[in-house]
Symmetry: C2
Subunit: 346 residues, 2 copies
DNA sequence: TCGTTTTTCTAGAACGATCTAGTAGAACGA
DNA sequence: TCGTTCTACTAGATCGTTCTAGAAAAACGA
């Protein structure tokens, strides 16, 4: 916009009040078509690009954007096919409502003061994607009174969320593994604290992130007699699954099945097996969660959740005022592929 | 934020001027530590969540966000691994600068008036991802005087861009194909207009999108004697490659090689071959551009470009004021895999 | 013809911050 | 002691809109 050209400039040039120019853009039925035409063309001549975004947002209270908050680093979101699928669904709905998507990074360093992105974000609402309850970004959004929809179930009846029944989902897989005779399981867990270090074995209490905990409980429920160990090779990524599984496979005490709490972790485990000449489903069973596109290619047994639908549903709850149901449970389905097979008898 | 609580409220409660409260958040060295502490804690008590994003953006002229503009539908961006890789790189740098990423949809319907996302976007700068020169969103951003960095080379010396030498990249592939004896090529082209209809054969003029045109010219350069036909099955996606290739393979007049102008198109073509019992690299050569992760798995010959670096570089040029070089050419590399082989002699 | 409704436009106050310019007092140096 | 610099804070204008309330003119109904 030619510098210094504002609504007022245009108004003066046309000889009308600023309100009328504003109406020309926002409420075309409030003025005669002829005048509107005249205003718009004068605006064009002057190089006026339409009402300033920030000023409009300030005065009207609508930013025309919804925020998205992730765990960990923002860049990870794009290396995780599950997150990408979610975003695709969310973007679809955002598009429908002519609303932008604001992806907010939050390096824990700059929480103090007003210089962090969550603080600065001009948004009307926010999608909370797989973020643990204690995340500092959550506190900021809560303090800002910004409506939120989470991908995790919350206890409170006022919360909005779109989620799956994590326990049930995991129970489906647990039942499958139990039937196949598995009684010695390693679960690969997402754990940011373990990143960059050696893989670590952890207790259920240490897992922290509620979803993971629920999935583990679901497995335990259907496999009460099994030994279930928890191992983490870092944050939720292929490489962590690889590292974690390498550690497990090279140990003296191999399980008969490895369960990744997400497909990327499980795919990493398959890679580790391949490198050791082990065949998934024969030598060792591998299974995951989510059913990302690559899971099918790799023949990974997994618990499918409709991730794109999840994104769409979150978008609807965020943006469509006519949506009544603000707590939505999506279905899951066990998808059995070649990576799971009977436990070797000994 | 507790409704009605503003800077002013806090200022009154503490007994200082609004400016001082503002400084407590933005310029900590402008006031005594003790007072700042007092202000911050009073703010917390009152439920004040920090300076309002829109108001701050309006007054200071900084939004703390950069926009990203895509071709076509926003949701497509997430189904394209190339776009996802770009975003990952961009997000990395955005994170570094505590800046959010605003993904702007632009349905062509609501260009008129002030209700479209590009118009409403509160951003300091914008990344233009593979957008043709005539895109309406571009015009709006230009009118708004928003600094832009494009992933396409522009002619004008003032433009900022991070790109590859498209002609040279394609020439590398062309040389490879020529050496293998291919003289009858079909190029799968991204074309939004062809979407949803039958695949169409088109002329170079109809392609429109500059990058595509340049790649085709690069191929022609090294294969002056070859017959090169252009076919589109729709927009840039796996399914379009599949559909386009099916049409080509089922025609009377099969080429000896199919070149996708992106890897997703080429991967679609490989799928079409597989379904017909044809082996890429033996029965027919397939090649692509970009070298997305799936290309390696599939054994696709392609021209690699460092897509994540592209995202990073765009981020730097957008956000780092110390970056001098605003026109960056990234290297490309021919990656030969199993999908390309000698042309059958006849 | 006259009152009523509708259309079209406007004045002026917000919205909630940050910026510029400046003041009062403390600290300093000689 | 006095001028100077520094620190800590403030008054008031300003960013560019949209909103509320209302006025003037036009159209309408009887």
């Amino acid at each position: 916009m030619a510098p210094g050209v504002t609504l007022k400039t245009v108004a003066q040039a046309v000889g009308v009040s600023p309100s009328t120019v504003s109406n020309a853009y926002n409420k075309p039925d409030q003025l005669s078509a002829a005048l509107r035409e005249r205003i718009l063309s004068t605006a064009q001549e002057l190089g006026y690009a339409g009402p300033d975004a920030s000023a409009r947002a300030l005065r009207s209270g609508k930013a025309g954007a919804v925020g998205v908050l992730f765990t960990d680093k923002l860049a990870y979101a794009f290396s995780d096919p599950y997150a990408v699928g979610f975003l695709a669904g969310l973007a679809e709905v955002a598009e429908e409502f002519a609303t932008s998507l604001l992806l907010m990074p939050l390096s824990s360093t700059d929480i103090q003061g007003g210089t962090n992105a969550v603080q600065q974000a001009a948004i009307d609402a926010a999608a909370i994607f797989c973020v643990a309850g204690a995340h500092p970004g959550l506190d900021i959004l809560r303090a800002r009174n910004i409506p939120m929809v989470s991908t995790d179930r919350g206890d409170h009846p006022d919360l909005s969320w779109v989620a799956i029944d994590e326990v049930e989902a995991a129970a489906k897989l647990g039942k499958h593994l139990a039937r196949l005779g598995h009684r010695d399981i390693v679960v690969l867990v997402d754990n940011a604290k373990a990143a960059g270090t050696q893989p670590v074995e952890m207790t259920l209490d240490e897992v922290g992130y509620t979803d993971c905990e629920l999935r583990i409980r679901g497995l335990q429920k259907e496999m009460p007699d099994a030994r279930i160990r928890l191992v983490s090779g870092g944050h939720n990524a292929f490489s962590s699954g690889l590292i974690g599984a390498e550690w497990v496979l090279d140990s003296q005490d191999r399980p008969t099945a490895i369960v990744g709490l997400s497909d990327v972790l499980a795919l990493g485990a398959m890679e580790a097996m391949k490198a050791r000449g082990l065949v998934p489903g024969r030598d060792l069973t591998v299974a995951g969660f989510d059913d990302i596109p690559q899971a099918e290619t790799a023949g990974l047994t997994t618990v499918r959740q409709p991730i794109k639908d999840k994104g769409r549903a979150v978008g609807r709850v965020l943006l469509d005022p006519s949506v009544e149901d603000r707590q939505i449970l999506l279905p899951t389905e066990l998808v059995v592929r070649a990576s799971s097979g009977p436990a070797p008898r000994n």
